[in-house]
């Protein structure tokens, strides 16, 4: 009798837990699929692992709530005496290991792919500053700073009286966008001038820290034209929330036209940028970060 009881209850519980889980998936956002082969790999990997952990969760909660419903004192259920089962322990050690191996295989191959930064057709150096980004197109000689656009900057002040909803792409728009060609293997070299920043555009599928005194590498291959927005992801001081990233992916032909239009324009010094607040704020720790960005610049060019 009891066995059927448990079975029926567990099916009912399974249905309830599944419906709740489905509801949680239905109302929420998921990771964007993105526009690069890597971002799509990550998206599929994420969905696979999410699916696996969801099934595990549903089974665990079904067992648990079945017990909660059936094995209650108020229903006159007498406690059993068992306290151990080696067979069970081995089972629930082995099965998770197998599941982990199933997850680890695709995760490893996607990671190996991401870490191979060779074969780049163009290089862009990204430098994080408090609180803006600098982009150097190493081959094309284009170089500029990219900071939060004026409208967002006005609206974000306390008591600005501007409703953020009335600002286009509030906090996700910049003065100078990072223009990149589609269908091109692009290598990024990331560093920072003052503190650690992290360059993250979800549609590209990754973030990578920009660290003063170090150069990190990452790559992308954008397959679709469009505008992709992101933000600094590593806490970098008071305006960490206000140094967005906007990538504008255009066709290679349009990209060439864009480069020519930039025609040898010399970038401003960071100090001249209206949004620049960095460096001087580093009260007391002025020992030597001054020239690090320049040094790195030279190092990169030597490598290239």
């Amino acid at each position: 009798m009891k066995r059927t009881n448990e079975l029926i209850v567990s099916l009912a519980v399974l249905a309830v837990v599944t419906v709740i889980t489905w509801g949680l998936f239905a109302v929420g956002d998921n990771m964007p699929r993105g526009v690069t082969p890597f971002s799509q790999d990550v998206y599929h990997l994420h969905n696979t692992v999410l699916g696996i952990v969801t099934v595990i969760g549903i089974l665990v909660f079904t067992a648990m709530f079945t017990s909660v419903v059936v094995h209650r004192k108020s229903k006159g259920y007498e406690a059993a005496k068992f306290t151990h089962s080696t067979k069970a322990e081995i089972t629930w050690t082995t099965i998770p290991i197998l599941i982990l191996i199933v997850i680890a295989i695709p995760a490893t191959s996607v990671l190996i792919d991401m870490e191979d930064t060779g074969g780049a057709e163009m290089n862009v150096k990204i430098t994080g500053y408090q609180w803006l980004w600098k982009y150097d197109y190493i081959e094309d000689g284009v170089s500029f700073y990219s900071a939060l656009d004026r409208e967002s900057n006005r609206a974000r002040q306390i008591g600005s009286g501007i409703n953020p909803r009335d600002v286009d792409n509030y906090l996700l728009e910049v003065d100078n966008r990072l223009v990149l060609p589609t269908n091109t293997r692009i290598r990024f070299l990331l560093t920072a001038d003052d503190v650690i920043h992290s360059w993250w555009v979800p549609e590209l599928g990754w973030k990578r820290d920009a660290i003063p005194g170090m150069i990190n590498e990452a790559w992308t291959y954008i397959e679709e034209e469009g505008v992709y927005r992101g933000q600094c992801a590593e806490l970098c001081g008071k305006d960490h929330g206000f140094m967005p990233i906007v990538v504008e992916a255009v066709s290679p032909e349009e990209y060439r036209r864009w480069v020519e239009a930039q025609g040898g324009e010399v970038a401003m010094k960071p100090e001249e940028h209206p949004n620049f607040v960095g460096r001087g704020r580093a009260s007391g720790s002025d020992a030597g970060t001054e020239d690090s960005a320049e040094t790195i610049n030279i190092a990169v060019l030597d490598q290239g």
Binding site: G28, F38, V42, L45, H46, V49, L50, V53, G57, V60, M64, S67, V68, K73, Y77, A79, A80, K81, F82, T83, H84, A88, W92, P96, L100, I103, A104, A107, T108, L111, M114, R156, Q157, I158, N163, P164, R165, Y170, L171, D194, V195, I196, W200, G205, K207, R208, D209, P212, G213, Q231, A233, E234, L235, G237, G241, A282, S283, A287, T289, E290
Partner: protein
């Protein structure tokens, strides 16, 4: 048992001071336990108030209430206060109260040091909180204090580092005391494999504490000399390495997060058998799983920093090692459910919190497995997905377990039953609101919202509003908790020695409230009194 505990204590312990002196000079494990727990509750409310500021600012896009500097101070201080002020002292308080009672010891092994390790804490936190009132403000670089950002702050950094040192000293002394007590003061017959799991998990946590608190001390001392004495440990321009700090910090930090959860596992392992009226399933496996988790905690630290640019081999190693943690953690979950299975369950407040823990800690554990997958972590890292993950394991994990433990042992401490009806209201209110608070943060992270930002793009508005509403409701529920505890201390239905029908173990053989001195004569221990029995042991 009570004859051994109440009758004679006046003879050989002399006069007990009253008033403030009683608490200042006490060397009694129960009084020190109470001090820790009260301190922890106060810090929980202080840290919670900071969380309310954070959630209020994030209620709507645009900056309304605080400026970004102060917002960053709030996120930093909220974490430091909650981790070092609320959760850790709560566990030490529970250890002080319960470990001697559980192993049949008259007190902790080192009572004077016990007093000192508590009384350091109010000073440490006075120093930490005083930075809020300094001209340069409290630290605003996140609780991890990553350089170079943390080195940009004002002189308050020195105060923060001093207070971290004090907390570390306090923790290490507390850990030494726990180890000395457990290894030396067990009643005859209380063999290691008869110890309650709360004692086991604390023993293992104490070793972790001794291993890693000095590492944290080293890391912050290097910050101190970098900031004030011209060294360049973490300054690339001077030949140092900012990433080195992160490696050292997380070598402390990852064992630290297990310090925050292992005693919680212990509490849950006490409560579920009691209210299932069935002995813990797989006791020995639980002990080994705890030890395995502790060992693994030392070799997974870099999963906190997958985006700093590590070699492929290192990333793969840390990914695999992190994934492996799911195995012993899974063993624990399965054993708890097997303990419940075919038990005879009742659902008093401690059990409700334990079940809440089981569900929500599992959610946090599963999202932890997702975070282990390096390529996917490139997306999750430093997003609200991580915020959701660690609040599921820390709030609905550690904090829920602490609350479960408080409801479970409160009748033993005070001699009164707490108000069961209010306790149940507190549980349901907390559980619903905490999920409204943290579950939407998964969505925010996946949609691309970074953590530690005071303002956000408008597409994140709805889930932030929902999260904030959940946050305010959860905060309010904890005032109810404080009231329930206060009410129970003041009075209530008298508690029996055993308190709970299914309770087993030495702590339930002494009267309620537990008299100041217990087990002056060691009890005799065999399988009939211990909470756990496993054929393997």
């Amino acid at each position: 048992m009570s004859n051994a505990t109440t009758a004679h204590h006046d003879d050989h312990h002399g006069h007990h001071p009253t008033g403030l002196a009683r608490w200042l000079f006490t060397t009694n494990h129960k009084e020190i336990g109470t001090l820790y727990l009260v301190f922890s509750l106060i810090m929980f409310l202080v840290g919670g108030a900071m969380a309310m500021v954070i959630r209020a600012e994030l209620f709507a896009p645009g900056l309304q209430l605080v400026n970004p500097e102060f917002f960053n101070q709030m996120t930093t201080m909220h974490a430091l206060v909650m981790i070092f002020g609320a959760v850790m002292p709560a566990f030490v308080g529970l250890a002080n109260w319960m470990i001697p009672l559980m192993i049949g010891a008259p007190d902790m092994a080192l009572p004077r040091m016990n007093n000192w390790s508590f009384w350091i804490l109010p000073f440490a936190f006075a120093i930490l909180l005083s930075t809020l009132f300094m001209p340069s403000g409290a630290p605003a670089s996140g609780w991890t204090l990553y350089p170079p950002l943390s080195l940009q702050g004002g002189n308050s950094l020195a105060f923060v580092i001093l207070s971290i040192h004090l907390m570390g000293i306090s923790s290490i002394m507390g850990a030494i005391n726990v180890i000395a007590t457990i290894l030396n003061m067990r009643a005859p017959g209380m063999t290691l494999l008869r110890m309650p799991l709360f004692v086991w998990t604390w023993l293992i946590s104490a070793f972790l504490l001794i291993a890693v608190m000095p590492v944290l001390a080293g890391a912050v001392t290097m910050l101190l000399t970098d900031r004030f004495f011209g060294t360049s440990f973490f300054n690339a321009a001077g030949g140092g390495d900012p990433v080195l700090y992160q490696h050292i910090f997380w070598f402390f930090g990852h064992p630290e997060v297990y310090i925050l959860i292992l005693p919680a596992f212990g509490i849950i392992s006490e409560i579920i058998p009691t209210f299932s009226r069935k002995r813990l399933f797989g006791y020995t496996a639980m002990v080994y799983a705890t030890a395995t988790i502790a060992f693994l905690s030392f070799i997974v630290w870099a999963h906190h920093m997958f985006t700093v640019g590590m070699p492929l081999g290192a990333q793969l190693f840390f990914m695999y090692a992190t994934m492996v943690i799911a195995v012993p953690t899974g063993v624990k979950i399965f054993n708890w459910i097997s303990t419940m299975w075919r038990g005879s369950m009742t659902f008093e407040t401690p059990m409700l919190f334990a079940l809440g823990f089981l569900v929500m800690f599992t959610i946090g554990g599963l999202s932890g497995l997702m975070l282990a997958i390096v390529p996917a972590d490139y997306q999750y890292h430093d997003s609200y997905f991580v915020v959701a993950h660690f609040h599921y394991v820390l709030v609905t994990g550690s904090v829920f377990a602490i609350m479960a433990g408080v409801y479970y042992w409160l009748p033993k401490w005070t001699g009164h039953m707490y108000d069961e009806k209010l306790g149940k209201i507190h549980f349901w209110w907390s559980t619903i609101s905490v999920n409204v608070l943290f579950f939407p943060q998964h969505y925010l992270g996946l949609a691309g919202m970074p953590r530690r930002i005071p303002d956000y793009a408008v597409q994140f508005t709805e889930f932030n509003m929902i999260s904030s509403i959940g946050g305010f409701a959860f905060g309010l529920a904890q005032l109810l908790f404080a009231f329930i505890v206060w009410k129970c201390v003041r009075g209530g239905a008298p508690a029996t020695a055993q308190v709970w029908e299914g309770a087993r173990g030495l702590e339930w053989t002494v009267p309620s409230p537990a008299p100041l001195h217990t087990f002056d004569t060691p009890p005799k221990v065999d399988d009939s009194v211990t909470a756990h029995k496993d054929e393997l042991s």
